[in-house]
């Protein structure tokens, strides 16, 4: 009986350590992937690629170029490619000098409806109201 109790304690403590570990790993110090759906579906912004991978600091973009609130910008009427080409929003850096220009490599950020559906299917983002997410297609 005593042995069984010890075993249970051991199992539970392992579970507890594992669970806390997961929580710590989930607690990123950046905003994760942001998927814009306006004006067109869909554009991805990866916080990981910009901070962890190339080491940009939060305050370089927040809050002057981008509000802290995710997707705040897409409620703005001029959040479109023309603004970006005139060095606003993403175009502040993506102007061809600091990083690749917004006039090139369209599908580097544009993941399209297919990319959006894929992320919803994987549970990475919540679908918007009225979205019809088809089952996996073979359009590759």
């Amino acid at each position: 009986m005593r042995k069984l109790f010890l075993f249970l304690v051991l199992v539970l403590s392992i579970c507890f350590v594992y669970a806390t570990g997961t929580v710590v790993a989930d607690d990123e110090d950046h905003g994760g992937d942001i998927v814009y759906t306006k004006p067109l579906k869909a554009v991805i912004f990866s916080h990981k690629a910009h901070t962890e991978d190339i080491g940009l600091q939060c305050d370089w973009c927040h809050e002057e170029t981008f509000e802290m609130e995710a997707l705040h910008m897409q409620e703005t009427a001029n959040f479109d490619m023309e603004s970006l080409c005139n060095e606003r929003y993403c175009g502040t850096c993506h102007n061809g000098d600091i990083s690749f220009s917004t006039t090139t490599q369209c599908a580097r950020c544009h993941i399209g409806v297919k990319g959006y559906n894929e992320m919803v299917r994987k549970g990475l983002i919540e679908p918007e109201e009225g979205d019809v997410i088809p089952a996996e297609t073979d359009d590759h």
Partner: protein
């Protein structure tokens, strides 16, 4: 299976030198070019001339035999898979949810430098030598003699789906409501014959990835795009020999002329 016995020994000996120019011309008229003579002059080697490039204007005009010769340029790098073309097409041409007249394929190269994703819009290529019309037993699908659009006459269609098998571009689906095959017809019945200049998809395309026009007219944007010196232009599945009329090229938004949507340019 038994093959008929051929009397090779009794055949007349031939060599490239012995073939008269008249005979060569006859071969060329058949769409074949003589490339050599094998087996001691008993076998003549010929290749098809379908993929030949044209040098003179007269020959070149024969390449675009329709007037207007409707055609589309797909500027592949500009497609962002917003799928507005698909929605516009479905709305305009009453395409059901299970069907499609145009699709967007995705190509992902995960170990590429920079951009790792590419979207490729596909639709009926309105081929000059359409394999589908040859396969159709009832002539329900045919080439429009004036503008070269590959059309469907639903009431003649018996639903045998031979055209679906024959099409190299997977551009056809069976429409349950029409009880017939349905496909892209460059919006001929819904827009072009009513005086519109663009198909629904090229009109709505926000990036100008789909450019529609008359390739037989040197003043038309499609002609100009396909005949640029600097651009590589290709077609899908050229090996099918179908001479498609949908051309593909790479593009970016970088030059001002290319930045424009086709609908705004008019």
């Amino acid at each position: 299976m038994k093959f008929p016995k051929m009397d090779f020994e009794g055949l007349k000996k031939e060599s490239p030198a012995l073939i008269s120019s008249q005979e060569r011309r006859n071969f060329l008229k058949m769409g074949l070019a003589i490339t050599g003579v094998y087996a001691g002059g008993q076998i003549l080697s010929v290749v098809s001339r379908v993929n030949e490039v044209y040098a003179s204007t007269t020959e070149f005009l024969k390449k675009y035999p329709y007037k207007p010769h409707y055609s589309m340029v797909v500027r592949q790098g500009l497609c962002i898979d917003c799928e507005q073309c698909i929605s516009a097409c479905k709305e305009t041409n009453n395409v059901p949810d299970y069907g499609y007249r145009t699709r967007i394929l995705t190509k992902v190269v995960t170990d590429a430098i920079g951009r790792q994703r590419e979207f490729i819009p596909t639709l009926c290529n309105h081929c000059n030598e359409p394999p589908c019309t040859r396969a159709c037993p009832t002539k329900a699908t045919y080439k429009n003699k004036v503008n070269g659009i590959v059309m469907m006459e639903s009431k003649k269609c018996i639903g045998c789906k031979m055209c679906v098998l024959a099409c190299p571009y997977e551009a056809r689906y069976f429409n349950d409501e029409k009880r017939a095959i349905d496909k892209c017809n460059f919006c001929y019945d819904t827009r072009i014959s009513k005086g519109e200049k663009l198909t629904a998809c090229s009109y709505i395309c926000p990036t100008g990835a789909r450019i529609f026009g008359d390739i037989s007219n040197p003043d038309n944007v499609v002609y100009k795009m396909v005949h640029q010196i600097e651009k590589q232009v290709w077609v899908l599945r050229p090996e099918s020999g179908s001479k498609p009329n949908v051309f593909y090229m790479k593009a970016t938004r970088s030059s001002p002329w290319e930045l424009r949507r086709q609908a705004d340019a008019r």
